[in-house]
Amino acid sequence: MAKVPFFDCNTSVGRAGYPHLTDNQDAAGLEREMEIAGIEEALVYHVAAREGHPPLGNALLEKEIAGHTSLYPVWVLLPHNTGEMPHPDDLIGELRQKNVKAVRLYPGRAHHGFTLADWCAGGMLDVLDAARMPLLLDIEIVSWEDVFALLNKYQRLPVVVSNCSYRHNRYLYPLWERFDNLYVETCRFLGAGTIEDVVRRFGAGRLLFGSNMPQYTGTAIVARITYADISREDKEAIASGNLKRLLEEF
């Protein structure tokens, strides 16, 4: 039987200030980790866009992954008002021009110093919603109340919650009962039997394969999918199909 293809929605390049263990900071290092795990393609953001300055990191990303045809850029955005990011009228055009496939936000005073509230990020979120640009949010940074407010306002925006651990089902399930545009990235979604339970209750369309390489290994989450008690079609949807569909819809 042919191998299930994997398309990772959560990888990075760039040197982390506080690494877990390895110093795989470049695109070649990321690709080595992908090869070990058996992952063919990946969306990638630059650590400097998260821990340094988003415009700087986004520019570094473009250079770092140039020529690496299995890696696709993800930008970290800010609201436009300070002049650090394009105006909402120009944002989608610039993202398309740079072939950006998804975006990430790090709101909050301890992170990038803005709020997802309408008065602050509304202009940016409005155009992302209209364009159906996948938005990744780290649940260690945003609250479930933030996620609910976002989903309640934006029905077209694919909201991808990353870093969602085995402790979050009691928040997730009621949101999944109400919103079709909520997705979970899998790198820490490891509770025993949870993937099967989610597929049974909500279908396989709610999960996007993600590893958080090269901070984490990709080998663990790959095995979680290949050994899942779900159909081959559902494995392929989670491993790559759902993400490809979202990218086509942008």
Partner: protein, 266 residues
């Protein structure tokens, strides 16, 4: 031996070597929903990837009642002989009860280890109330599995773990989670210094190349396979070892060969 990459990617259980999960639990937990928390579901997921045996301690015993938790463990061992083995949960908050539990549990030949959870019990590893528990384990040369974390754990930090492990050389100390996702470097430092320390691979936030790093710096003989099942599904942990860039011989040791050298499974 079957090719590990093909086996994992085809989702076939690893059946040609013995796999022993030396760090597993049992039952539901207060702050999370675990769909497959009971013993039959755990066995089903073990079968799915090829885990032969699991050494379990019931989650109820960490934050609630060690006696109730140990009762759950005993029931699971009786229901799945040869598949499930026990770790006796103890707590420094209840030293007398813990000693009674050690006597009761260790009389069962399927109980093969002691489990200490300093964080959940809020009892420091070096608390004087732990002394008789450690003495019991030292007299018998038992394994003690301790939940450890590098950052933010004043009860079971890696430094406390190292100090206590040095005080009790006859005990085989399994450093649970090897200090967590940022604890790998300290874990290696401790294991290089203390021969009675073993490194546990159980984690949800699995650092890239951690298995390779442990094998290179400490040697495969003191790296033990564990899953945290059912907190964490056991299947990802299979992938970490099976796909690691180490020799097949080292994978066999980590998956079960090492534990076999130290523990008798009846």
């Amino acid at each position: 031996m079957a090719d590990f990459f093909e086996t994992v990617h085809e989702g076939r259980p690893i059946t040609d070597i013995e796999i022993i999960d030396f760090h597993a639990h049992l039952g539901p937990y207060y702050n999370m929903h675990v769909p497959d928390a009971d013993a039959p579901a755990m066995i089903r997921n073990m079968d799915r990837c090829g885990i032969d045996k699991a050494v379990v301690s019931a989650t109820l015993s960490f934050d609630t009642d060690i006696v109730l938790g140990n009762d759950m463990t005993i029931q699971a061992l009786a229901a799945f002989p040869g598949r499930m083995y026990g770790a006796c949960a103890v707590s420094g908050n209840y030293p007398e009860i813990s000693l009674d539990e050690l006597a009761r549990m260790m009389a069962n030949p399927a109980v093969v280890m002691v489990k200490v959870h300093p964080w959940s019990t809020r009892c420091k590893m070096n608390d004087r109330r732990m002394k008789r528990i450690y003495d019991f384990a030292a007299e018998r040369g038992l394994f003690i599995l301790v939940h450890t974390w590098l950052d933010g754990d004043p009860y079971g930090s890696q430094d406390l773990f190292a100090a206590v492990a040095a005080d009790y050389p006859p005990i085989k100390w399994l450093m649970g989670h090897s200090g967590g996702p940022y604890g790998s470097v300290r874990a290696v430092e401790i294991a290089q210094k203390l021969d009675n320390v073993f490194l546990d691979l159980t984690l949800s936030m699995c650092p890239a190349q951690q298995v390779e790093y442990f094998v290179r710096e400490v040697g495969a003989d003191r790296v033990l396979f564990g899953t945290d099942n059912p907190f964490i599904d056991p299947r990802p942990q299979i992938g970490r070892v099976a796909l690691a860039r180490i020799s097949d011989e080292d994978k066999v040791k980590i998956f079960g060969g090492n534990v076999r050298r130290h523990v008798r499974f009846v």
